[in-house]
């Protein structure tokens, strides 16, 4: 079972990610902010889903951090935001993809599959 780490401050959206992703057969670990994620000694997941607007450290900063760390720099990162204007910013921060809220569950799953397959292929 593939593992996904989600950083999302809104409990409603966190629930949604959990439901959608678990229904699609993923294992989900959720964090409500970036600090907790970065400080935790987490198991490297197959993919990160980061909300852009996180309290404290911004999702893009978390992305930069992850992309700068040897252990995580090759793990795909999908940035999620309610703001439509950060597609460019997220790619600048090294994110592999960007998804705008609200989104279709199907689309999210497709995106995740695309990036995990890509990574599998690379490996």
């Amino acid at each position: 079972m593939k593992h996904i780490i989600v950083a999302e401050d809104d409990p409603g959206i966190r629930d949604i990610f959990k439901i959608i992703l678990e229904r699609a057969g993923y294992e989900v670990t959720s964090y409500s902010n970036g600090e907790t994620l970065m400080e935790n000694n987490f198991t490297a997941p197959h993919i990160f889903i980061l909300d852009k607007q996180l309290p404290g450290i911004d999702g893009l900063e978390v992305c930069r951090f992850l992309k700068s760390q040897e252990s995580t720099k090759n793990i795909p990162v999908i940035v999620v935001s309610a703001s439509p204007y950060i597609s460019g910013l997220s790619s600048n921060a090294g994110a592999d993809d960007f998804i705008e809220k609200p989104f279709k569950g199907k689309f999210l799953i497709e995106l995740i599959e695309k990036h995990t397959k890509k990574k599998d292929a690379a490996q």
């Binding site: 809104d10 852009k52 609200p102």
Partner: protein
């Protein structure tokens, strides 16, 4: 016609000397005296005979009252001395008598003395005086009494004259003047005192005295005739007046007759009224016509003047507007100049100050030349030694370095243009600062870039502000979109669950709910975009991508939203563009969903993308109702909404095409529509050639 009324009596038998006889026996000198004679010694017949011999008739005046014969006798004596024997010229006396009698309300005196004038009896007892014609008498009666200014003028003329040797002839201006003067004295008007002085001046003393005596008798005669109401003038005069209606009218309807009884104020008023009446009468028909013409002319002129005034006012307003516009232009020019100066200043300040660094990179030799400010930005002391790219890279934040390399590489190999925001760590204090850097390939050797120049400056403060702004917009959009995201996701999950349980009604309803959620999401997105556009802050992230692929993706996204429409996209060639993929996708979604919205079910929607000389042109064709030519431009305006009929309004808030147009504008491209009513519309957008981007 001069009517002579002859008198066949024996008046020629009587002379002046005879007349003295009955008045007084004692007075034999030529000077007449006021006779208070004792007539009692004479018989009644003798008395009448005396009268008749003197004046040719025996007037009623002296006949009454019968029971007091001494009274007529006394009157006769007064008449003889003050009137008949008065040495003033007989015709002057008689005409004056008649003239003054006009002002007496009793008509006896005037009628009787008029008779004397025209030969029915002797004028002033003088039988030798030839009778006057009716016309002469009428002229006398028609003469109005001079008053006020007129009288003052006459008085002045008389005063300027030397004393008269003789009293004036009848029907002369001088007679008229003397009569007027005398009348004022007689009637005791306001002018009486002046007139008395004038008379005193023009007449010698004795004539003046005799005139006053004469007036005293006329007064007596008037009073007597008023008191004796049944005095008759005699058949002859009555017959005459019956024949001469006009004369009778003059006598009995004389305006002046009563005026002596009226006070002077009233006289004045009457005169002014008379003048007014006269003036009024003078304004005859012709004059009225003239006046009407004048009024018409005045009215026309007034109208024309008003029109002209309006015209002038309009012109004035135009001038004022033009002046205002000119002033505005001048102001704009001044402002523009100030702006230019300001920009120059800013540019200079920017270049001179530590904020703007310049760089010039010789790629062949890998030598970079910086200006002084570029050194300062990096926290280095300025020196003139040449640097290379790796030397610069050591200051760039490690997290940004790879990206910077990538972007630079792309500029060198593909676009020729470079822009990047990255962080540096200053050499002097290790502080992290945000920089922005622009560069352009300025020289090539064959196809290979050999030189780039550019600028770099500190945007740390701007970044902080941008962060705050992004935070704000983020909060707003977050607050709106986060719940929508949850709703949408739950709807989808519920839908799936319903499908799993084969609960079709639930599935249908949830599908509708999902569509409404999409609408809400789209609305929030549009509002955010519009806010961004109006702030001039709609951001773009350019990248190279295949437009054909993007169109295919979007068509696939939209296909499920309307299964009744047939979306056709046949382009297969790869169309590589450098644009904001997200935004172009947004334009496509807008145009295709509009086509779905405005065209009948079952119809085709044909999407096409071709490369032209100008760039890549995408078209979306529908077979809908078409767009009237008059609103072709308006549909791209903010909040413009198409109407399907008078009452129906298509859903939406009129932002889609506005945002699409703004997106194309920002790409240096354009968007437009060609349409034929009831046949359909074709929406186009053009992404200009890459060099134009």
């Amino acid at each position: 016609m001069k009517l002579q009324v002859g008198y066949s009596g024996d008046r020629h038998l009587y002379n002046r000397k005879l007349r003295f006889m009955p008045s007084t026996n004692q007075n034999h000198n030529n000077k007449p005296t006021i006779a208070i004679s004792g007539t009692q010694i004479k018989g009644k017949d003798q008395f009448y005979a005396d009268i008749k011999s003197q004046i040719g008739v025996v007037p009623d005046f002296f006949k009454l009252p019968q029971n007091k014969p001494e009274t007529p006798d006394a009157l006769w004596g007064f008449a003889v001395s003050a009137y008949l024997d008065n040495p003033l010229p007989p015709l002057f006396k008689e005409r004056l008598f008649v003239y003054l009698s006009r002002f007496c309300e009793a008509k006896y005196s005037i009628t009787r003395h008029l008779g004397f004038l025209i030969g029915l009896g002797h004028a002033a007892g003088e039988s030798s005086i030839p009778p006057q014609s009716i016309k002469e008498v009428m002229t006398l009666l028609e003469r109005n009494l001079h008053r006020d200014q007129n009288m003052a003028t006459i008085n002045k003329v008389l005063l300027d004259m030397p004393a008269l040797a003789n009293l004036p002839q009848e029907e002369t201006e001088l007679e008229d003047a003397i009569f007027a003067c005398t009348t004022h004295v007689f009637l005791q008007t306001e002018e009486a005192a002046n007139c008395l002085n004038v008379l005193k001046h023009v007449l010698d003393d004795s004539t003046f005295q005799y005139l006053l005596v004469f007036l005293a008798f006329v007064r007596t005669a008037h009073y007597w005739s008023i008191l004796q109401q049944n005095l008759r003038v005699g058949d002859e005069i009555e017959e005459l007046l019956a024949i001469h209606e006009k004369l009778a009218e003059l006598l009995f309807k004389d305006d002046e007759a009563y005026s002596y009884q009226i006070n002077n104020a009233l006289l004045t008023e009457l005169e002014s009224l008379r003048m007014e009446k006269l003036a009024h009468e003078m304004v005859g028909h012709e004059e009225r016509v003239v006046r009407e013409k004048q009024e018409a002319l005045i009215s026309k002129t007034t109208f024309e003047l008003n029109a002209r005034v309006k015209q002038l006012e309009g012109a004035n307003e135009e001038i004022r507007n033009a002046r205002r516009a000119a002033l505005n232009l001048m102001e704009d020019a001044v402002l523009a100049e100030e702006n230019i100066k300001m920009l120059e200043e800013r540019y200079r300040v920017a270049l001179d100050s530590a904020n703007m660094g310049t760089w010039d990179w010789n790629m062949d030799k890998d030598v970079i030349v910086w200006n002084e400010e570029h050194y300062h930005l990096l926290g280095l002391p300025a020196d003139s030694s040449a640097r290379n790219l790796d030397f610069f890279f050591q200051f760039v934040h490690e997290n940004d370095l790879d990206l910077l390399r990538m972007v630079l590489q792309k500029a060198i190999l593909e676009t020729g243009y470079y822009q990047m925001e990255f962080r540096i760590e200053r050499a002097d204090n290790g502080q992290m600062r945000w920089m922005t850097s622009f560069g352009r390939v300025v020289a090539r050797n064959g196809g290979r870039a050999t030189r780039m120049v550019g600028v770099m400056f500190d945007i740390t403060e701007r970044k902080k502000l941008e962060q705050q702004k992004d935070d704000f917009i983020g909060i707003a959009s977050h607050e709106l979109r986060t719940p929508v995201t949850s709703i949408k996701a739950y709807t989808e999950i519920l839908q799936e669950l319903c499908e799993e349980d084969s609960y079709t009604q639930g599935t249908e309803l949830l599908k509708k709910l999902d569509m409404q959620v999409d609408r809400l999401a789209h609305l929030v997105r549009s509002l955010l975009d519009t806010t961004k556009i109006s702030e001039g802050q709609l951001s773009f992230a350019y990248q190279e991508f295949d437009l054909t692929k993007l169109i295919n993706e979007r068509v696939d996204d939209l296909r499920p939203t309307s299964e009744e429409h047939n979306l056709v996209f046949k382009t297969k060639d790869k169309l590589s563009v450098f644009a904001d993929k997200e935004r172009i996708g947004q334009v496509l979604i807008n145009l295709i969903s509009n086509a779905i919205k405005y065209s009948p079910k079952g119809s085709d929607i044909v999407i096409n993308a071709i490369r032209t000389d100008e760039g890549i042109e995408v078209s979306v064709k529908d077979y809908g109702t078409g767009i009237p030519s008059e609103i072709k431009e308006k549909i791209f305006e903010r909040f413009y909404r198409a109407r399907s009929s008078q009452t129906d309004v298509f859903p939406g808030i009129g932002l889609g095409l506005y945002i699409a147009a703004e997106i194309m504008k920002r790409h240096g491209g354009r968007i437009w529509v060609e349409s034929e009513q009831n046949k359909g519309s074709v929406f186009y957008f053009l992404l200009p050639n890459q060099n134009g981007l």
